[in-house]
């Protein structure tokens, strides 16, 4: 079996990808049923220009690293021994470990729990393959060409099936580790979760780097996660990005909600030279509810970018979206939050809010809340603020004996704490609480 793609490059052998100039061929021996999706994704990818500031979606990102880059396509051979599980936050969970984008069975745990089925695309049965194809097809429509590249390249993927009416008490913990063992690598990953009718689950995606101090990292990680919520299912989803300061990650999370489905989604990000996450939520069944929370804490030279797109395709759905960031040093954050109410989506109820604190005059935040409304009987609100820490509040704390530095710290943490309360999982909450404290400890 040869599961690879050939990229030709003027100077070097196969499996080299020059983003500026590449050719692509799809070998016939990959998962046959996945081929159409990958071919389509590839066509979309080559049909689009290379990401640069000229493209709206990438306007605030530094994409210089893509120019003349020679990414080696990860060959799927990973060194599983070097993996150090100490960064994992769950001891007792259904754990799937991915090293450099590849599923590592030996490091995964409890994957045979009752009510849940975890399989690789390559081992999926006919019925599962049909389901995966159907879900992947919904994911085709999107703007990010690097995600299209991911979808073209990912020759395999992970499928998690939560059976109908099952309440999975253990969290489903997806631990992605960037090993930093090699350089100039391109990692891809495809995840599809199907939450069966009436099921309840918690999905925690945790992205880390193995060697946090490595500064010789020119790797690029691409990823797509799709969660499909069938009727009346309920999913608590977390995506925690805590990578090394040199890592670059471009990912997309798509959630599809059927009628009466309920989603709580929580995003947290610090670290990374570039962390770009596209979040899409499609309300496809009536009376679905989505609650999205996001916290971003870039510092030094980092860039964090969240593009959210919530589509109310049908009537009576509800969205609550709250994102907050504290932008320190010379770092940058972008929040682009769009809520799109389709023509027939009457009685939609959507609220979007984004608040930012700028800690220095070198820090940069670009925020753009957008409402696109084609129905006439809806409740929608959106707002965004950018501010510095309130002088009056600092003074108030000072008059109570708390010095300025500590006051700033307390106020910053307080600003984030308000959203941290949305993290219902106690372990995640505790973990993030400590992360936030540590992350904001240098404020002065």
């Amino acid at each position: 079996m040869n599961n690879s793609f050939q990229f030709s490059n003027t100077q070097s052998s196969n499996k080299q990808l020059s983003v500026a100039d590449f050719k692509y061929s799809l070998e016939s021996d990959s998962n046959e049923w996945l081929k159409d999706f990958r071919t389509d994704s590839y066509s979309s990818f080559v049909g689009q220009p290379i990401p640069s500031r000229k493209i709206e979606h990438w306007k605030y990102n530094d994409t210089a690293f893509l120019k003349n880059a020679n990414f080696q396509l990860s060959n799927g051979r990973i060194n599983e021994d070097k993996f150090n599980p100490s960064q994992q936050i769950f001891a007792d969970a259904i754990t799937c470990v991915f090293i450099d984008g590849c599923y590592s069975a030996v490091n995964s745990n409890n994957t045979n729990e009752l009510g849940i089925c975890i399989t690789q695309f390559s081992k999926a049965n006919r019925q599962q393959a049909d389901k995966i194809s159907k879900i992947l097809n919904i994911s085709k429509q999107q703007k990010n060409s690097l995600i299209q590249l991911n979808n073209a390249l990912a020759s395999d993927g992970t499928y998690i099936e939560i059976k109908a009416n099952q309440k999975i008490s253990k969290p489903i913990y997806l631990f992605y580790v960037n090993s930093n063992q090699s350089n100039n690598q391109l990692f891809t990953n495809q995840l599809v979760v199907n939450c069966g009718r009436g099921s309840e689950s918690q999905i925690i995606e945790h992205v880390v780097s193995c060697n946090m101090n490595s500064n010789q990292n020119n790797n690029l990680s691409l990823q797509q996660s799709i969660i499909n919520l069938e009727e009346q299912s309920h999913c608590q989803h977390y995506r925690l990005n805590l990578e090394s300061q040199t890592s670059k990650q471009v990912s997309r999370c798509l959630t599809i909600l059927a009628s009466h489905a309920k989603l709580n989604s929580f995003y947290y990000s610090n670290g990374s030279l570039l962390n770009k996450t596209d979040i899409d939520v499609y309300h496809q069944g009536v009376s679905a509810e989505a609650d999205l929370t996001g916290i971003y804490l870039p510092s030094e030279e980092q860039t964090i970018d969240y593009h959210t797109n919530v589509e109310h395709q049908v009537p009576h759905c509800q969205t609550r979206e709250n994102f907050r960031g504290i932008v320190a040093d010379s770092s940058k954050a972008t929040f682009n939050g769009k809520i799109h109410i389709f023509k027939d989506a009457q009685k939609s109820d959507a609220q979007l809010n984004n608040k930012n604190l700028l800690l220095t005059n070198r820090a940069e935040i670009n925020t753009k809340p957008e409402l696109e409304i084609y129905a006439d009987d809806v409740i929608c609100a959106h707002g965004a603020t950018i501010a510095k820490i309130d002088d009056k509040a600092i003074y108030y704390l000072q008059t109570r004996g708390i010095d300025k530095t500590r006051a700033k710290k307390m106020l910053s943490i307080g600003f984030i704490n308000e959203l941290l309360d949305h993290a219902n999982n106690k372990i995640v909450y505790q973990f993030l609480h400590e992360q936030v404290q540590a992350c904001l400890s240098d404020i002065n």
Partner: protein
């Protein structure tokens, strides 16, 4: 206790205090009244050390020590307390966490025994009761969603916990109904002792029915233009300020 001499201060190039002098002995209560814009709130801000309020002349000492060169938090540690006219709302920081940080810092500075969490909680709940605040307020964000009266009572509650030597109450009575006014007054009276002094800034004589001041001063255009006993407040209530200002 507090000695202010010829204090001059400006905000953004506008001189507000123009040579204000005031002496307060331990245990005394001084009321400061005066028309709008006379500099009453500015006096509180200047004494407590708010950024942007620049002292251009004169001096102020607390227990013999110069306070004007100190940061706001250092003045608080030395026993100065300002109850705000408009207390600030701080969502995300709980009253409990805030108060504990404040009390710990101040006690530590003053060399007092630190309060362990249990005795701190016990005391905080007791003080809440004294000012008629539901102890559940301690769990909420600082002043978050509090009514005007609740915010003022919270200020008094903080004052009780911090045990300051000089308390400045900046129009704590404004916006309060009669019941809340009494609660605040009772709180202040309960804190009175021979080593604690108060400056009560107010527009109305009403509060002084409940808290009897030792002295009343009239502030006008950045200076004290008349001082007297508690009967002066009654006279002001009756005649207004213009008769003094014209004199």
């Amino acid at each position: 206790m507090l000695s202010i001499k010829d204090l001059e201060a400006k905000v953004e190039d506008k001189t507000i205090l123009k040579g204000l002098s005031l002496d307060i002995k331990p245990g005394e209560i001084h009321a400061i009244m005066g028309p709008n814009g006379s500099g009453k709130s500015t006096l509180g801000y200047v004494l407590s050390g708010r950024d942007g309020y620049e002292v251009t002349g004169g001096s102020a000492t607390l227990n013999g020590e110069d306070i004007l060169s100190l940061d706001a938090d250092e003045r608080a540690k030395k026993g100065l307390f300002l109850a705000f006219q408009y207390p600030v709302e701080i969502p995300g920081v709980s009253n409990m966490e805030f108060l504990k940080a404040s009390v710990d810092t101040v006690r530590d500075y003053q060399g007092k025994e630190p309060l362990d969490t249990i005795s701190f909680m016990k005391q905080a709940r007791e003080k809440c009761k004294e000012v008629n605040l539901d102890p559940n307020f301690l769990k909420r964000g600082v002043n978050e969603g509090f009514s005007g009266g609740e915010k003022k009572r919270n200020e008094i509650m903080q004052m009780m916990m911090l045990e300051p030597s000089l308390c400045i109450l900046d129009e704590t009575d404004s916006g309060l109904d009669i019941d809340a006014l009494q609660v605040v007054a009772n709180g202040v009276n309960a804190c009175r002792d021979e080593n604690r002094s108060f400056i009560i800034v107010t527009h109305y004589q009403r509060l002084l029915d409940y808290i009897i001041p030792d002295k009343v001063h009239v502030l006008s255009d950045g200076k004290i233009i008349k001082s007297g006993g508690s009967e002066l407040a009654l006279e002001l209530e009756e005649k207004g300020y213009s008769w003094i200002e014209k004199a």
